[in-house]
Symmetry: C2
Subunit: 349 residues, 2 copies
């Protein structure tokens, strides 16, 4: 591996600088991505065609000296493979043609065979690894069982996830059944991604933070934890709005906890106490500022996480589609320059 900075940071080993990658780094803020997507006709065509997914995955690495590639895909490939019928209407979010709305549909839910229904993802992983030629590590990912259940039961994104939350209160047994099937599906899927070549596995728990305090562990983290335990590569878990449960996430066996921008980085670092790495957590909206302000925000974030090993720089959420490319360039440059200088100054003489 030419650049193993990310892997070393996830293992909390010293690095020459703080590694950086960005959630949704292959995405709509890049003109070359938009051109590819327009040619392909849709997001799903990009995601389901390994050669296109490979090209899109590598696009941000051609522009910026990022320390990781992340598989271009979507968390909803699993419920799609389960037969729920994933659709992306233009200008809207994802939608399922056949959401889980009754006990019969839930009872019939089966774990897809990754090498069959999700073979296109594994092909993309293999092609990306070849194209990367050991330049940087490849991160694979999946949605958390709870986050997948949210979309599967609600049918699309929601302000209040009323259908899934009603099920949690009125029929918790049904929700636990969906979560159980999802856990087995995500485990098999991520194990297959590892076999195909991913070097880090990330679990996106986008909606776990909407659960009541007492519900987060039994309905989200407990299931994600079983997946983490079944994987032989470093793992990262990210729960948007997860601040109330940082301690539990840190004790879940993951290599790193992803923090959104509402988290106090200094307190998270004290709580982690060197037992787990941290990833995050610049507010994506900071990239709409003038360049000098972007650079200042990068330095503030690095200062908050401190000079100790075990920080992976990232945004606190996916990069916004309207982000100026020049701001991303300034961010990546500043993180590298400032953290390199700091690492040099801190080195024991």
């Amino acid at each position: 591996m030419k650049n193993d900075t990310l892997l070393r940071a996830l293992a909390r080993q010293p690095t020459a600088y703080t590694p950086i990658w960005l959630m949704r780094q292959a995405g709509r803020y890049l003109p070359e991505y938009n051109a590819m997507r327009a040619k392909a006709g849709s997001f799903l065509t990009l995601a389901k065609t390994p050669a296109l997914a490979t090209e899109v995955t590598l696009q941000p690495l051609e522009r910026f000296p990022l320390d990781a590639a992340i598989l271009f895909s979507d968390i909803l490939t699993i419920p799609d493979a389960m037969g729920l019928g994933l659709e992306f209407a233009e200008g809207e979010g994802p939608r399922f043609a056949r959401p889980l709305r009754d006990e019969r549909a839930i009872g019939a839910l089966a774990v897809p065979d990754p090498s069959a229904e999700l073979g296109y993802v594994l092909d993309a992983v293999r092609q990306i690894r070849r194209a990367l030629a050991e330049r940087v590590p490849l991160i694979g990912f999946a949605g958390s069982p709870f986050t997948l259940a949210c979309y599967m039961i609600e049918g699309s994104a929601s302000d209040d996830w009323r259908t899934v939350k009603t099920m949690r209160h009125a029929r918790p047994d049904l929700l636990h059944h969906v979560l159980e099937v999802n856990t087995r599906a995500v485990t098999a899927y991520l194990q297959a991604q590892v076999a195909a070549g991913i070097q880090v596995a990330m679990i996106f728990d986008t909606w776990g933070g909407t659960l009541a305090y007492e519900d987060y562990v039994p309905f989200s983290l407990a299931y994600a934890q079983r997946i983490v335990a079944a994987l032989e590569v470093p793992t990262i878990i990210f729960t948007k709005g997860g601040a109330p449960w940082l301690g539990q996430m840190m004790a879940s066996g993951v290599s790193a906890v992803g923090l959104d921008w509402t988290n106090d980085a200094q307190q998270a670092r004290l709580l982690a106490a060197g037992r787990v790495a941290l990833q995050g957590n610049l507010d994506p909206s900071a990239l709409f500022a003038p360049e000098a302000a972007v650079r200042a925000a990068a330095r503030r974030t690095l200062d908050a996480f401190g000079p100790e090993p075990g920080h992976v720089f990232n945004l606190g959420h996916g990069i916004a589609p309207a982000t100026p490319v020049s701001a991303v360039a300034a961010l990546v440059d500043e993180v590298r320059a400032y953290s390199s200088a700091r690492a040099k100054n801190n080195k024991p003489s």
Copy 2:
């Protein structure tokens, strides 16, 4: 005052039971509210006609033995009085005809005179107080300066508040100017509500929790705190997603901190250490469960907050429009019965 349980709880004095009221208790889950709204033609007509606002405010008290009334109004009355042109399109959220989009509009922003432009709210407060006849205390409210700024700058609700957040990073001076004007406007407005008769003032900081960790205090809480200091009645502040800043909110001089459902009630209670009352925090979706589950959830919440004085039972967010009325009845009944029995058993003999 016939029932001063809420006021005693806000002062952290012992009460015969835990007082309860519900955010949006006068609202769309009540058939009599929907009938009134249909007759009036719109939400704004209800809010702007003191006799109708009075009737709607009292509706939930006729059904349930609640321990407070809350003024029927909207947080956006202030920017409406500033001339931004509030509209509610049917089935959608609020929208401003003239959002703040340039330096000139921001420079021209002026503090409205509550007794002139907002006289209808003060009339409603006086009428409600007469109609209540000292039955329970009346809570008045306003939006926090930051939450008002979100709507005023963005023009309507948003997933990511990109316009306001871009201003925070690109032109923080302009955002601070809006916040300064809003602070003076909310202070004058709540002082006028107090003069008209409200007995508790609540500040709704619905969007403060979307700020980056380091931004919440300087852009939201610091301004809200100035308002709290200028009021002579008990105060409650509620920040949705405010878990990362509980300690700062508790130290802000408020009588009570409102907690959303993601907060750990037991930890909040330890952190409050008897210095501040707590309000909350049942997940509103728990009201979609069967009655026995609603009652069990009420008991779990009461157990989490413990038997010490200083808890006001509420939901962790506004009650959902589709909530069954029977579930609200079960909740209010269980909170009264369970907390009465507990208070009796805990009484020193």
